[in-house]
Amino acid sequence: MTIAIILVVAAALALIFILRVTLSRSLQISAGTGLAQIQPIDVEAFRNLVDPEEADYLRMRLSASQFRRVQRWRLRATAAYVQVAGRNALVLVRMGQAAATASDAPTAEAARQLVDNALLLRRNATIALLRIYIALAWPNSGLAATVIVRGYEQLSGSAMLLGRLQNPAAPVRISATW
């Protein structure tokens, strides 16, 4: 009977989750995309946090215990930035998916590219977060944030192309600092 109860509860939870997705999907269709949700990110600060030279400098200047403590603070801050980057990527996914219905082929293609790059950034942000949480346990190990940085670069290129295609006359504006 225990197995029956476990399986029934699991099935009920799965059903509730799927019905919630169904409900949120219908709400999303009527609500459209929420572009105001993009949160700015201070790239300068982020660059300092993920700079390996900065970490090496701190390692030389501080005692081992001090370095571990400081490095944990830096890692927590990096995690906060990466979480925001991941959330911003999701907003861009929605933006790209909305633009993908455009009638002209170049805009639709640019939107598709934007979605793909935003998804890549979301994926990289997830992997980077995992690595950051692992690094929190071992602060002396190096943290390579290159996947995130590369994701930013590709994403910005795609968003810029989409912006230009949608509004060639106006200066392309998406985000200065996120």
């Binding site: 197995i3 810029m160 509004n167």
Partner: protein
Amino acid sequence: MLQAHSFLWHSLWVAPNILLPVLAVFLWRSGTARQFAAFFAFAILSSVGQLAVYAADILPSVPAATFWRVEWGDLILEGVLKFALIGEIFALLFGSYASLARMGKTLIRGAGIVLVFAAALAAAYAPKNELFGIVSGANLLEQTTYLIECGILVFIFLFAAYFHISWPRQVFGIALGLSISACIHLATWALIDNGGLPHSTRVTLTFVNMATYQVCVLIWFYYLLVPGNVVTNPAVPLPETNLDVWNRELERLVRP
């Protein structure tokens, strides 16, 4: 009324298996059968299989052992068709996103392995009926199939939700119907296999299964034949900051 071979029982067993091939014909005529090839095959073959089991059940000339062999054959066929259908849902949903498809495939394989182990464990701990092994074996196969199916479908929903992937309407409809069917059937078969329930309750649960499948077929009709509201997205307003500056900053970030 809730008795085997009652009018309701016949209706709930036969109706969805008549409706599903009708849906397949509509898909064929609308030209979408090729796009949803696995669903098209599922709609026809699973109905044929179910009707064969139904015929074996009601024909007095068919001995019990033959009925259970037909049931086993149908279960295996349905299992193969359902997993092909899940593969099709995955491909239609994530296939166009190169950055996700590979990761998704790796994760879904991992999830599949875990689910197979969980299903094997659940089957191993289920009470066995030595006298009617062919019957309890079929019931356990139902539980096993639905456990894996339900788990993989939940994984697909979770994966899509995490990445905010927008579901194409028809793919969503197919996945929704299949998921509701899998969740309800998993719960009922778990109770039938492990609950030690009296016969009347087991018959009631069979009615729940048949009614659920009927509802799922209607869901497939709705999503596959009724066109959705055409959402006209206004020109997407881009966020208020300068992309050129952003890009320059990122360039510096990558190549300091």
